[in-house]
Amino acid sequence: MSKVGIIGVGQSTFVRSYPGSIRELAFEAYSDAMRDAQITNDLVDATVICSSPEYDKQRSPAGVVAEYLGLNPQPTFYVETLCSSSSTGLKLAYSLVKSGLHSCVMVLGFQIMSQLTSAESQERMGRGADIQWESPFGTMMPAYYALHAQAHMAKYGTTSEDLALIRIKSGTYGQLNERAVFRKEVTPEMFADKDGFGGPVSSPLRVGDCCANADGSSCIIVASEEKAKALCKKPVWILGIGSASAPVNMAGRDQFSGLLVGIEAGKQAYKMAGITSKHIDVAEVHDCFTIAEMMAIENLGFAEPGGGPELVRAKETYKEGKIPVNVDGGLLSKGHPIGATGCSQVRTIVLQLRGEAGAIQVKDPTIGLVHNIGGVGLYGNVTILGRE
């Protein structure tokens, strides 16, 4: 069986308010990835463009972005699965290469969110849920994840302090990530400030439990085994890809202490890669909220259900721990420009596996995992990458 490799990765700096258009933002990640791959654009024979369209005035952005990047007349495809759009795009790119239809595919995720106020943004995000039966109650993303936090606390005795530990860790690494939007240390004292991180958002989640909206772009270039070996000194191979969906309405869910899409996509990815959670040396998980990282740790098997808090308290998810998680600051500190998040996570793991992660480098990893969730566990992708 031929493999599919990643030969180039790129990312813009994630910022509060990008001073340019979506094409210009896309160019930042694209040029970074092309310089990384050291290839010319005639080698790219298809493109996959990913975002969540309700933030843009531009309809059908794929064509616009492909033209700006000089990628005509190659075909381009637009992919959307909310916050997991670009890891879904990676799955499409993998399939295009694996099928033999294309041999080198560029995946680009982007999002400009800053043109909307936070409340407008929450209203848009809320409509990524059930607009007939849930949105009229005034739902928003933090509230949906808060329902999960409440359930996790009730079932396992998890505390707000446990969740704060996750945010404190992200602050540790966000400071080291030059491309993160939030580059400050986070302390327990900050959660005591009711006008700051300790302020209530949606019980039991507080301001400090939530990631910041950001503008940003990310880019991954994948190639067939033959091309990857010819073009790239250190290709990183896609060993497993799992994907799943779940009922959009909370009334359709069987449990709130975990995300079924994370469990299902993880199972598929481990099976395809022929490994278990014990083989993962470094992981990027979808921490749009602290509770999301807690659930991911358990859903991916790094801890038993309910064992997440203990792993977190023991600092086993730090860089030196048993399973380093989100050592680039995660969505919480790096920022969460929806369409760009998945490929940004992939970039982090690729750099880790190449040994090029700099200050956040984990010691000699051979297998890494990316867990990217769309909506409130509506979509989920788990991608396993390896050096061999």
Binding site: A119, E123, Q132, F137, G138, Q150, V201, S203
Partner: protein, 145 residues
């Protein structure tokens, strides 16, 4: 020729409704009569809440309405201190999921419960009642059973 009136009753659901036209619009009439209703497939008996007009299992649209009665178990809840556009006037408000066994119901907690974060506990018994939002729209909420 008289223009056929479009049935937009669902615009009356919730503080802000995002859609008016659905084949389940009778839900609104029932709500105005004080009843919270789901649908059940006549072919396989599967109960749906929120109500659906079609059964994916039986591939049929032959459905009947049933009333959500009795009590359910509170699975989870959250009190919002920050709201999306259009809901600011409702703050603070609490959303919840209640398990009725055959189906679950997502909705809001009755404002009569003054301190939901103190008074509510996961696992407690709840019931659902029809009512009105502060802006006079149709809604249902949960009360302690």
């Amino acid at each position: 020729m008289a223009k056929k009136e479009i049935d937009r009753r669902f615009n009356k659901f919730g503080t802000v409704s995002f859609m008016g036209v659905s084949k389940t619009n009778d839900f609104i009439d029932y709500l105005e009569q004080g009843k919270v209703m789901g649908t059940r497939c006549k072919a396989c008996g599967k109960a749906f809440f929120p109500p659906r007009s079609d059964c994916f299992h039986s591939l049929t649209s032959e459905m009947e309405w049933f009333e959500v009665t009795g009590t359910g178990t509170l699975l989870t809840f959250s009190t919002l201190r920050y709201a999306p556009v259009g809901f600011e006037g409702d703050l603070p408000y609490t959303i919840a999921v209640v398990d009725y066994g055959d189906y679950k119901v997502f909705g809001r907690i009755d404002k009569a419960i003054a301190s939901p974060d103190e008074e509510l506990k996961v696992g407690m018994s709840m019931k659902v009642v029809a009512g009105k939002t502060a802006n006079g729209q149709d809604i249902y909420f949960f009360q302690k059973a």
